[in-house]
């Protein structure tokens, strides 16, 4: 009897614990993040205010004025255009290259595995430091790439300091850093595909280009979509590479969203405009990330099903 009641007591205590337990376990992590939500709402408020750090006394709500001003603000349209161009160029090239390299390395040989690990090194380089590395290589005075450019007959290539080649230069750095990301994701995807359709196609003597378009690509689509969305979300927010390379210059050639917002905040101390810019960027990334997360969840379920 006493054994039984002790058991019941333990069970009832266990029951209370059990209801509270998940909250107790996840509360510390949540508290740490709630601290992050406060600045987020502050940013929303700032975006609706006239607020310059240099004139704190004039801080007041002007509601949508910051956003309305964007309509007739060529600097804003420039930011939007530069950001879109950057995202489109980097992700486009990275997808093309990444898929190509993944196909080259598809077979599980020791050499291929070794190469794919070596190719991860750029991805492991901090983007800001990668920019510095390329800065040393594109220095007009002694940079090896500038020297090679002269060998190709391009005299006086100024890379990031020339408005006409600045975008090209940062895109190359981005491609260097992030192509391995797409490559490694697609490689894992390729290697996880079932073998039967490919074996059947080979037995039937189906041309390989046909196999690629009709079997490989469709089966790879979820992986492609995840990789591309992931990269677009990151690329449209790129800051490190561009800031470390040119700080947005020369002029306004590379003032993408986050760089422009940073300069607005710290140089022209226009907090209101900076916050409004970031809110627009946030809306874009939020829409993209909800699509991404859905797709990502599906892949995750599948990956866990295979494990």
């Amino acid at each position: 009897m006493s054994v039984h009641s002790a058991d019941a007591a333990r069970r009832s205590r266990f029951k209370i614990n059990k209801r509270m337990l998940p909250y107790v376990l996840s509360l510390p992590a949540l508290l740490a993040c709630i601290g992050i939500l406060i600045p987020f709402f502050t940013a929303v408020a700032y975006s609706l205010q006239r607020y310059r750090l240099s004139q704190p006394w004039a801080q007041k709500y002007n509601w949508g004025e910051n956003y309305l001003n964007f309509m007739s603000d060529p600097a804003f349209w420039n930011t939007l255009q530069v950001s879109m161009t950057y995202a489109f160029l980097t992700v486009g090239i990275e997808l093309f290259l990444g898929l190509g390299i993944a196909l080259l390395l598809q077979r599980r040989t020791r050499f291929n595995n070794f190469v794919s690990i070596m190719l991860l090194m750029p991805l492991m380089t901090a983007p800001a430091l990668a920019s510095l590395m390329w800065k040393l290589m594109t220095n007009p005075g002694f940079g090896i790439l500038s020297y090679w450019a002269t060998l190709l007959g391009i005299e006086d290539m100024k890379w990031a300091s020339d408005p006409s080649t600045a975008m090209l230069t940062v895109v190359i750095v981005d491609v260097w850093v992030y192509t391995p990301f797409i490559m490694i994701l697609l490689l894992a995807g390729l290697r996880s595909l079932p073998r039967q359709p490919f074996e059947a196609a080979e037995l039937d003597g189906v041309p390989r280009l046909f196999v690629f378009w009709k079997i490989t690509l469709p089966m790879l689509t979820p992986f492609l979509l995840t990789a591309v969305l992931f990269r677009v979300i990151e690329s449209i927010q790129q800051f490190d590479i561009i800031y470390a390379m040119t700080q947005g210059g020369p002029g306004d050639t590379l003032t993408v969203f986050q760089v422009e917002a940073y300069l607005n905040f710290f140089q022209s101390t226009n907090v209101g405009r900076s916050a409004a810019l970031l809110m627009i960027l946030w809306v874009i990334t939020y829409i993209l990330s909800t699509i991404f997360i859905k797709n990502w969840l599906r892949l995750r379920e599948r990956a866990r099903g295979e494990a």
Partner: protein
């Protein structure tokens, strides 16, 4: 793929060589540069042959830079120390906060758990400046500006979602029967968590920790906005170093090498988990 004609074989080899060259050459070239003095770096045409010297590394480690006119104090080792301290601390805090939460999300489904997990994940994709800029103003007010504590807290933005989602996957893979068996043998929740769940998810926790360390180490924007010179990690410090050292390119190259070496070593060590970590568990490596 089995039937490869010679032309295709050659094309493949050429393509692969170009790929390896493009991705490896910059690291190789900066590596060479780090063993040179300005004298050999500034040669035209550039050449791979030179007398290697350790002076760049030596002056970085000793902290004084001998210029042509004066000796300059540099705090590169301080930056390296900051990177190490910030990353280790951020990952430790992230693991302490994230692992129990990951367990709750994996094993004890509760009301709102999915929504909360997604909110945490969405932090990973929001523009960091959106949070950082208001935070600079708040940190000034509450005295967290330019403290390690403030930085470590903000680092949770990148560290926590990573740990949470990777470790959660590992917890979900543990069959619940094993845990029930342990419970039925009369052990409580805490014992089940520490004796069964944690050891079984051990590799996943280690992988998440290593990856989180790499992300924290490579981060640039948090410290750029929130840290002053004496708290800066290498990513920010190296940028300031370029302006400070003027034209001593060999030392910049040596600084870059020292900054990326620890991450390369970790990445090689944790390569098995890289794919999974980079895709937040969407793709198994």
């Amino acid at each position: 793929m089995q039937t490869m004609n010679p032309i295709e074989r050659i094309l493949r080899a050429v393509a692969l060589s170009l790929v390896i060259f493009f991705f490896m050459f910059p690291i190789f070239w900066i590596f060479l540069m780090s063993f040179q003095t300005n004298e050999t770096i500034l040669r035209v045409p550039p050449s791979m042959f030179f007398e290697p010297t350790l002076t760049n590394y030596r002056s970085l480690i000793s902290g004084s830079l001998d210029g042509s006119t004066a000796t300059l104090e540099i705090q590169f080792m301080g930056n390296l120390y900051n990177s190490l301290f910030l990353s280790v601390a951020a990952v430790s805090v992230g693991l302490i906060l994230g692992v129990p939460a990951a367990y709750a999300f994996a094993k004890l489904k509760f009301r709102g758990s999915e929504d909360i997990a997604f909110t945490l994940l969405s932090f990973r994709f929001a523009p960091p400046l959106l949070v950082l800029l208001p935070l600079t103003i708040y940190f000034q007010k509450i005295g967290l500006a330019d403290t390690y504590f403030g930085l470590i807290w903000v680092y949770q933005l990148i560290v926590l979602p990573l740990i949470l989602w990777i470790v959660r996957g590992y917890f979900e893979d543990i069959p619940s029967d094993i845990e029930y068996a342990h419970r039925i043998a009369g052990h409580g929740f805490w014992s089940t968590f520490t004796k069964i769940a944690l050891p079984l998810a051990g590799p996943g926790i280690a992988a998440a920790g290593l990856l989180a360390f790499i992300f924290a180490w490579n981060n640039f924007i948090f410290a750029l906005v929130l840290a002053s010179a004496d708290k800066q990690p290498v990513t920010v410090g190296a940028l300031a170093f370029i302006t400070a050292s003027g034209i001593n390119y060999g030392q910049i190259a040596a600084g870059i090498m020292l900054s990326i070496a620890p991450v390369f070593a970790l990445a090689l060590y944790a390569q098995r988990y890289l794919v999974e970590g980079l895709s937040l568990g969407a793709v198994k490596g």
